[in-house]
Symmetry: C2
Subunit: 356 residues, 2 copies
Amino acid sequence: MLHAVIMAGGVGARFWPLSRRNRPKQLLDLTGEGTMIERTITRLEGLVDSDHIWIVTNAEQAAMIKELIPSFNEQRFIIEPLGRNTAPAIGLAALHLHKHDPEAVMIVLPADHRITNIEQFHYCLHSAVEIVHDSELLATIGIEPNRPETGYGYIQMDTTGIRVRENVYPVKTFAEKPNLATARLFLESGEFVWNSGMFVWRADTILNQIREHLPVWGVAFEEIGNAIGTPQEKETTRKAFEAGKGISIDYGVMEKAPKVAVVRGTFDWNDVGSWDEVWRLMPHDENGNATRGIVALANTENTLVLGNKKLIAAVGVSNLIIVETDDAIMICPLDRSQEVKDLVDKLKASGQEGVL
Amino acid sequence: MLHAVIMAGGVGARFWPLSRRNRPKQLLDLTGEGTMIERTITRLEGLVDSDHIWIVTNAEQAAMIKELIPSFNEQRFIIEPLGRNTAPAIGLAALHLHKHDPEAVMIVLPADHRITNIEQFHYCLHSAVEIVHDSELLATIGIEPNRPETGYGYIQMDTTGIRVRENVYPVKTFAEKPNLATARLFLESGEFVWNSGMFVWRADTILNQIREHLPVWGVAFEEIGNAIGTPQEKETTRKAFEAGKGISIDYGVMEKAPKVAVVRGTFDWNDVGSWDEVWRLMPHDENGNATRGIVALANTENTLVLGNKKLIAAVGVSNLIIVETDDAIMICPLDRSQEVKDLVDKLKASGQEGVL
């Protein structure tokens, strides 16, 4: 049977002050369309049975998600005792799915991406399911790039061989985030797609691959697998995660696995990685301003205002981000939002963690 | 006897959102030193008896001042029924003072100027009192300019004749706010001082001069004078102000009067006319930032932050004004604060007067 596993582990500093330690990006409604995790679930309608949707997250976020989406089946939370990056989180999910359904095919989806053009999205996942459900293939979803983006990893496709499906290619290499010159070469070559962090495989396939390439986690999952459904389950999982090293699925498994295919996705995809991305995704007025809340602007352009309760008045500014929350106001140029991290670090260092 | 009349009539849009229709500049603590009106009163200690200090203002502001300074003698408020610029306000005050004390010498002081170096300030006013108390001279206080300021009016002194006091000159001309080239010439000439809006004269002298140069107001003050102390006082004053035209004391009297002297002031004086002035007057950190409230800055310089209750975080910005009040947040470049008026007009036009 087909299952979806939504990865909702991350903590978010990039969208401070909207995102907080306990309220990362997936729990936010950044663009005014609904929270990203709700939209991730809704996006699966018609493809995955709603009772086959799982969420991997920590206990604190699970409670918040439950509050946000009361209809979500509590049995479908898979609780990470602590964050150990994507490989252990995916392994833990695969273990639970496999126990629940030995024939499980799992779609792995980040909780905090924005996708439009749902039909293309479904078509792409459907292609991936078709190639993995009776094979040992690992499928990854690559996105057709439309600009020389330096903020994403890339996947190089082998475009030379014979293909069973027009949108599925063998993977040649995984490439880290490139510099601009390299990103331009990638784009021109036509051989590279963006690494979206979405994967499709059988649960038993990924468990075998983890055992092969991450043997210490293989042993840990063996122990957790034996404990699932017993009174020791929670304790065994916690101990294994405490002892294990964090590692990403890309670095730990995908780059080493022998049979990896990439499905070329043509849907609109965005990882909403920065405030200027939020600004770009929102509707604009004739001066390029994107606003929410009570806002008054004079001689202002290309500015993102996310208000809360107060009137936010901007006069004579451009390319600025202004965000108001219940206890903070953040002002930063649109193209310098990566520096918000500097401020978060500074607040941490000065003991002002209450606002983080 | 010596009296001081503090002019507290103005409404303030320039410091929105701190200043409001009912809360103009003199009632604000812009620089963190106390409200300007309190400081104006305190500044007179040792020069004018506290029971000889009068405030000309409207009824609404009088109530706020009374709340701010409970010790202020309510009998010393002179209520303008409506704003008619400085000449009628000063005339009304002179009328009350003259009734109270026929020998009254009055010092007229704006409520919203910042002065340091109190000793020099007292010395200057003392000189003015000495030349007017037994003459029909009108004395105005001019400030020694230290830069080619285009935001102030100027007074040209006659530096050629013989003078009775080293710091007192006959006035040659009054000059409106100059352009930069003219302001430079003024500064170089050594003959020009800034027009501070501070005056010293006998109450009967200024009443005579108003009768002479503003005869309609002369008649009005005659009627008000007869009504003072009777049940008709309030109604007569209101009618006179409703019927009369607004006019400034400079334009209506000073420029026409035959005997005007300027006392050259060497104290530090500032009319705190804009947000960048506020920024300049406040203490700065090593990056030129001036802040009040709960503030966190990263990679930020030359920025003025006046916080209220929320944490204000600025990242990667420079030359910005950020002001938070209970119901509004205003963001504007330091050198474009004159455009705040555009926004206030816009809010007025769109019916959002609640925040003005």
